[in-house]
C-alpha cells in the first residue's frame, strides 16, 4: 500500500517562493497565470494490511503531527491499494 500526502500553505499565508516561480514562468512566455503556490509532496510506502481506512487514519495523524505545521499548512492524504 502507498500513501500520498500533499502539504500546501493555507490560503492567505505568504508564499514568496511561489511568487518567484510564477515570475520565472511568466518570463518564459506562459501567460494567463493568476497564482502559483508551492507545496510539498510525500510518498509513504506502507505494509499491505488490506485496511485502507486504518492506514488513512494513521497517515493523517502523521501528516497532522509531523509532515505539516497546522498553523500555516493544510494537508491531503490519498491511499493507493
Amino acid at each position: 500500500m502507498k500513501a500520498k500526502v500533499y502539504v500546501s500553505l493555507k490560503p492567505g499565508i505568504l508564499d514568496p517562493q511561489g511568487k518567484a516561480i510564477q515570475h520565472s514562468v511568466e518570463l518564459l512566455g506562459f501567460d494567463g497565470i493568476s497564482d502559483v503556490r508551492q507545496g510539498k509532496y510525500f510518498e509513504i510506502s506502507l505494509a499491505d494490511t488490506g485496511e485502507p481506512e486504518a492506514a488513512r487514519e494513521s497517515v493523517s495523524r502523521m501528516a497532522r503531527e509531523v509532515l505539516s505545521n497546522p498553523i500555516i499548512e493544510d494537508y491531503r492524504v490519498e491511499i493507493e491499494a
Binding site: 499565508i13 505568504l14 508564499d15 514568496p16 517562493q17 518567484a20 509531523v66 505545521n69 498553523i71 500555516i72
Partner: protein, 232 residues
C-alpha cells in the same frame, strides 16, 4: 546558577552562547547533547541558532522530536528559563512552547545584517534590566524569520504584553521599512504566557562585544542573570 546550551546536529551558535555565558555572565555552563534528557542541574537553557537537522521539512520541525525536547517541555513547565535564539525560536514554535510559526522571509533571501529592535516590555526575566522602549542593535541571520500567527493569537500576545522585541529603525520607530523579513506586526521575539520562555530571531549572543559591532545583546543576558540571582 547554572546554564545549559542544547546542541542538536546542525546547531552552530552553541559555542557563541557558551562563550557569552562563561565570559560575560561569568557563570558555569554545559553543552547538552540533544540525546541527553536529564536537565535537573540547570536553571536556564539556551536553544541556540543554527540549522538543526539541516532545516529538513521545516526549520525546527525535526529537532522537536529529539529526546531532549520532552525534558525541555517539563523544564519550561517547572518555571525555569528557556531562551531560544533564531533556530531555537523556530524549534520552540514547532514544539508548541510558543505560538505561531516562522516562515520564509518576505523577499526570499537569507538575511545576514545588523538590525534594530525595540524592547516592548521590561516585564520578562530576559528584559527586566532594560527600560521599555530601549533600542538594541543586534544581528540577524536567517531565511525563515517571518513570524506569522492568526488574528486571535496576535490579539492575545498584545493583550498579555508578550511581544518582547519588535523590529524598528535606529530611532525606535516601528516602520515597515525597518521590518527585514515581513514578520507580522514587526515581531522579532515573543514570550509564553508564564513569561519564562523567550524566542527571538536576532542573535544577542553575537552582540556582546564592541569588536563585533555591538554589545547591546549583553543586556538580555544581564537581565536573565539578575533574575536568576534574585530567585536563587
Amino acid at each position: 546558577m547554572k546554564f545549559g546550551v542544547i546542541v542538536f546536529p546542525g546547531s552552530n551558535c552553541d559555542h557563541d552562547a557558551y562563550h557569552v555565558i562563561s565570559k560575560h555572565v561569568g557563570q558555569p555552563v554545559d553543552f547538552i547533547w540533544h540525546r541527553d534528557t536529564n536537565l535537573d542541574l540547570y536553571d536556564a537553557l539556551i536553544i541556540p541558532g543554527g540549522f538543526s537537522y539541516g532545516d529538513y521539512l521545516r526549520a525546527g520541525a525535526l529537532a522537536r522530536f529529539s529526546p531532549v525536547m520532552d525534558s525541555v517541555k517539563k523544564f519550561a513547565a517547572s518555571g525555569r528559563f528557556v531562551l531560544g535564539i533564531c533556530n531555537g525560536f523556530q524549534i520552540l514554535c514547532e514544539a508548541g512552547l510558543l505560538p505561531g510559526a516562522l516562515i520564509r522571509n518576505r523577499d526570499l533571501h537569507f538575511i545576514c545584517e545588523h538590525v534594530f529592535v525595540r524592547v516592548e516590555t521590561s516585564d520578562t526575566p530576559f528584559t527586566n534590566e532594560m527600560e521599555r522602549g530601549s533600542v538594541l542593535q543586534l544581528p540577524i541571520a536567517h531565511a525563515e524569520g517571518n513570524y506569522v500567527c492568526d488574528d486571535q493569537t496576535l490579539a492575545t500576545l498584545q493583550q498579555d504584553d508578550r511581544i518582547v522585541v519588535r523590529y524598528c529603525d535606529r530611532n525606535g520607530e516601528i516602520t515597515k521599512a525597518a521590518n527585514p523579513n515581513g514578520a507580522r506586526d514587526n515581531i522579532a521575539g515573543i514570550c509564553n504566557r508564564k513569561r519564562n520562555v523567550l524566542g527571538l530571531m536576532p542573535h544577542p549572543e553575537r552582540a556582546c562585544e564592541d569588536l563585533l559591532g555591538s554589545s547591546d545583546g549583553r543586556d538580555i543576558f544581564r537581565s536573565l542573570a539578575a533574575t536568576l540571582a534574585a530567585v536563587a
